[in-house]
Assembly symmetry: none
Homo-oligomer: 141 residues x 4
């Protein structure tokens, strides 16, 4: 199973809506597939230009390691050199903080990840979860 483009669009819209409802700063949201490849992305007007690689990095690490942003952050805090080394083997593409949310289907299989950036990491994760909830999938922050 994978995240269809239709569902990816809904995830992004609902995450952005949540951000506006919570009066967050402009958000950027990426949806990756189960192989860590980009399916859809949107950056709100007013967001800084470099937001794509940040959103991507949060979601990419989650898919590649099978570990959501919160767990990555804990590992980075406990063992900084380990997450630095992980970034080496993944080409420097991992941002190990909340806002990188694993997406699972009903059986618990990881089918992709959502990456949100723009506000605090915790608020980014809340916005991501709003998108994932809206399509009936399970998120792991």
């Amino acid at each position: 199973m994978t995240i269809s483009l239709r569902r990816a669009r809904t995830i992004i819209r609902k995450a952005l809506e949540k951000g506006r409802e919570m009066e967050l700063k402009p958000l950027s949201v990426v949806v990756l597939d189960a192989g860590g490849h980009v399916q859809a992305f949107e950056r709100e007007d007013g967001a800084a230009p470099g937001r794509f690689p940040i959103a991507h990095g949060k979601a990419y690490g989650a898919v590649m390691l099978g570990m959501a942003g919160t767990a990555q952050m804990k590992r980075a805090e406990d063992q900084a050199y380990f997450m630095a080394a992980v970034n080496g083997v993944y080409g420097g593409q991992v941002i190990p903080v909340p806002g990188g949310v694993l997406v699972r289907d009903k059986k618990g299989t990881v089918i992709g990840a959502v990456g949100v950036t723009g506000d605090t990491s915790d608020n980014d994760a809340i916005a991501a979860m709003a998108g994932i909830d809206a399509v009936g999938l399970t998120g792991e922050i």
Copy 2:
């Protein structure tokens, strides 16, 4: 002036609609801003996983060089080593073929680029132009 997210969405939708109308293979469409940074992207269901970097590479070269895909291709055919060297300085991120379309406002200023991939380069460019036309901007293939 820049391409708003609202307009970027319309560009992508209309490009994808054009692809379906012409019965092209599944397309992927990126919109970059005037600085070459990703604003929005969608990959249709059934497209190969690696389509983001190809779409991005077509649009990125167009913005960074201020030269659309067709002109880049001509340059690559005339002087392959030049485009190879350009790719050196741009981190290997340029795909110099049609489907990378410059977007200009009414004064002729470049405000971004659209990159389309999935079918032949010429068809990719037609789909990109359909999106750009739909928002009243000027495309240069």
Copy 3:
């Protein structure tokens, strides 16, 4: 659907058996999943040490582009600068010759790729197909 480890093992064994039956040079065989990630690999005794990245590069380009080795080679011959640029966006990881074989399920969906290296490109592709046939999947050389 994906290629299970059990099936990946059979693909590799049957490809190696085919190589021995045809008296090819020592082969190396990789199986990638639908996202281009390594699932299984074996290098026969006597093969050169650098065979993993070659096998990987054949299969990786096939998955990422959704285009098997033979079609990639044709494109490289027709438009060398295009395949060079594609390699730029994929981090230099693509080897565009036969021996990179797409694997499809019964519906025609790409579920991975097999990369074989060690003998001539054409013989490498024959060995890959023997492995894919053995598990009842469809290969595209």
Copy 4:
């Protein structure tokens, strides 16, 4: 002397069996030769897609430095900048934690390394040792 493919297969199978016996998460196991080059690899069903580079990074550092994962981790904890610099010269390919196990022959010569990832670093190392023991070689965690 080197690790034959036959032995590499046994190492991988026995490491995976140990993982199942201990009820670990799905494991990925790589065997590298004395030059740090990939000989064989398997990723169990259910493991995250990005496990190859992690398994590889554990074993690669062990071979290249002649120092097993536990000693590398100690060095990273004592002198993080040193392991970061080592990663610079080795292209960012080293993961300095347990689960990267040196393999020695009866004379004590390093003939390769095994890298295991998927569970805790300590459990990964136990699984690697089970594989190495099964072929009568000596492991150094």
